[in-house]
Symmetry: C2
Subunit: 376 residues, 2 copies
């Protein structure tokens, strides 16, 4: 199977129902990709990921490049074989993690040099190297190397990083020519919160020509209003027949609003990271299971859920697991959250088919608010 994308339906809001075909399988869009940083979605078995309906996961090039190393993973048959996940995988380029995790880094035209957060060694990541690593990992969708700046930032800084990212995009595209047929490379639109820079970045990337386009450098400090404006402006500058991926976003509300603005793909650590910290996403809004008033609550999170953990365990039991520092608590809440995100996307896809996506967003948000008082 080669890479292929089809928009099947479009809702009046601009939300799109699509189908993404990759060498390792088909993904219904809009899709949420659980984050499997170090070749594991933290605390969950691959079997559990299959059961909850994840059709694609994301893995972090930065982490795997540093440990255990892309050459070892290649030698072991590639990332799919290494982690026993025979379904699609998207790898990021490592650029974002260099910015957020490395204790020291220096960006130059050639690439970025950084100190590993693991052992302090100095490591270089160039556009060519980022692509080589992803090719050896064998991901279905690779990302260009980009530079992402924290917002707010001075306009000149945003523009510098955006134009550098464009030059890196071109080098990545050239380097990716060696990848196996059927694999995809996505360009990443940068430009901070500046609509004009975003449009300029998008048009230049489209001129280069990629298999899909991501919007990077958002959810890095700006308000949701600003983020959604930038998403709308950027999406308008991207080809209607290619996939659009909003990187690192976000809350259920962020995702629904971005789907309404024509985004097809999402990834975020929130469902798993918040789950490990005791925060659940449910149909009735967020619930912090560590709050004392859950201690004797016999109700499950959601008796109607498809998720066994949301259905079969009382809030009292989940509260007990967190109070006792038991690993199962984080695992069950991560499961509950990922089921919720998958179900949110399935609901979105069904609503787009019926051309009632705006109603779906309204009903979903109403339910979060209506029950918040008695369950959070």
């Amino acid at each position: 199977m080669g890479f292929h994308f089809e928009v099947l339906k479009t809702d009046p809001t601009g939300a799109r129902l699509g189908r993404l075909t990759t060498p390792h399988g088909v993904i219904e869009t809009p899709a949420f990709m659980p984050v499997g940083t170090a070749a594991t979605v933290k605390g969950l078995t691959q079997q559990a990921l299959e059961e909850l309906g994840a059709e694609i996961i994301l893995a972090n090039t930065y982490h795997l490049y540093l440990r255990p190393g892309h050459e070892l993973i290649r030698q072991l048959g590639g990332l799919h074989a290494f982690m026993s996940w025979p379904h699609p995988i998207l790898t990021d380029s490592g650029g974002f993690q260099v910015m957020s995790l490395a204790p020291l880094r220096k960006v130059a035209e050639a690439g970025v040099t950084f100190r590993s957060h693991l052992d302090g060694a100095m490591v270089e990541l160039t556009p060519e190297r980022a692509i080589e690593v992803q090719i050896l990992l064998g991901s279905d969708i690779a990302m260009q190397l980009d530079e992402c700046v924290q917002l707010p930032a001075p306009p000149t800084e945003i523009e510098r990083a955006m134009t550098l990212s464009l030059r890196w995009a071109e080098r990545c595209k050239r380097a990716f020519a060696g990848a196996a047929a059927g694999r995809a490379l996505f360009g990443i639109v940068q430009g901070g919160d500046d609509g004009k820079l975003r449009e300029q970045s998008a048009r230049a990337l489209v001129d280069l020509g990629f298999d899909g386009y991501a919007i990077g450098g958002l959810a890095v400090g700006e308000t949701q209003t600003v983020m959604l404006e930038v998403v709308a402006e950027t999406a308008a500058a991207l080809p209607a027949d290619q996939p659009r991926y909003l990187m690192g976003v976000g809350t259920p509300a962020d995702i629904l609003e971005a789907v309404a603005r024509g985004i097809d793909m999402f990834d975020c650590v929130l469902p798993t990271r918040n789950g490990r910290h005791g925060l659940a996403f449910t149909r009735f809004g967020p619930i912090n299971i560590k709050n004392a008033h859950h201690a004797d609550d016999p109700r499950p999170f959601d008796a109607q859920s498809r998720c066994p953990a949301a259905r079969d365990f009382s809030r009292a039991y989940l509260h007990h697991l967190f109070r006792s520092g038991e690993a199962l608590g984080g695992t069950l809440l991560s499961l509950i959250n990922l089921y919720y995100y998958q179900d949110l996307m399935a609901g979105a896809r069904a609503a787009i088919i019926d051309r009632r996506f705006a109603d779906y967003v309204g009903e979903t948000k109403e339910q979060w608010i209506a029950k918040r008082d008695r369950s959070s």
Copy 2:
């Protein structure tokens, strides 16, 4: 279903095939009970426990008494409902944990007073209270309160604790008269490494009359040879038609040898605790997955295993999870170990049916040794 035990076959070694019937289901013996200390077998979902074939689990009265409290669990429908485990549960009495976990304790005729390791509060556990807690938890099999001494110990100290445990046994039996019909209470033989004291303890307990008999106070510092001698002597003094449970034992080798001496039930934290620390039990002997030479080993632990984790993941991947501090590593090795223990017991039962248990022990041990060099 009421409590009932039947010996179906006896092997020339003395190993017994049995069937234990409890209010929540039937257990084939010899059986291994995974330890679910705080109403969770650490890191594993209840679904995973069902899949690996655990027919009964053990929960620790000491932990649940302190947190979240037996009255809360009772109010939430009992331990089976609380942890969503509809199958048999055995609870210990808390005595062993008071000795091993409480930073301070004082044993008197009335019971034991100890400082909670959680919040420093002084707590009292009497025989009557230990039974009340277990009745409210609703376990299928409850244990008498006993005093367990660390070995080596002076004979007078061993005898004192043994006779105190006998008096507590009588009080526990009286207190248990209030339990729902069908639930079982086991007495616990004490007496350290002294065969005469063990025999005396066993005969006195049998005179009192319990639903089953445990051997406590072993695997607390003595050699395997001493332990097995005591097991053999004690088992000989116990009724042939009632279940025998060796508490807190042990390694696969310990278990096989104890089965050969007529023991029917086992529990131990080794498969889960060692699993969390990177030590796997396999058909080919123990493997420390943290050793560097596993880093590039594409082989699974056991391609023939019934356990998906032992079959589907390379040693290189499991090594990577431990090196990266990923929780999935501990979860997968705990699974691998509990599958191994369950399969070891299934193999034992099959061998007893064929009256070839001694051969089974020999073959199993041979396989551990034969492959040790290249896989540990």
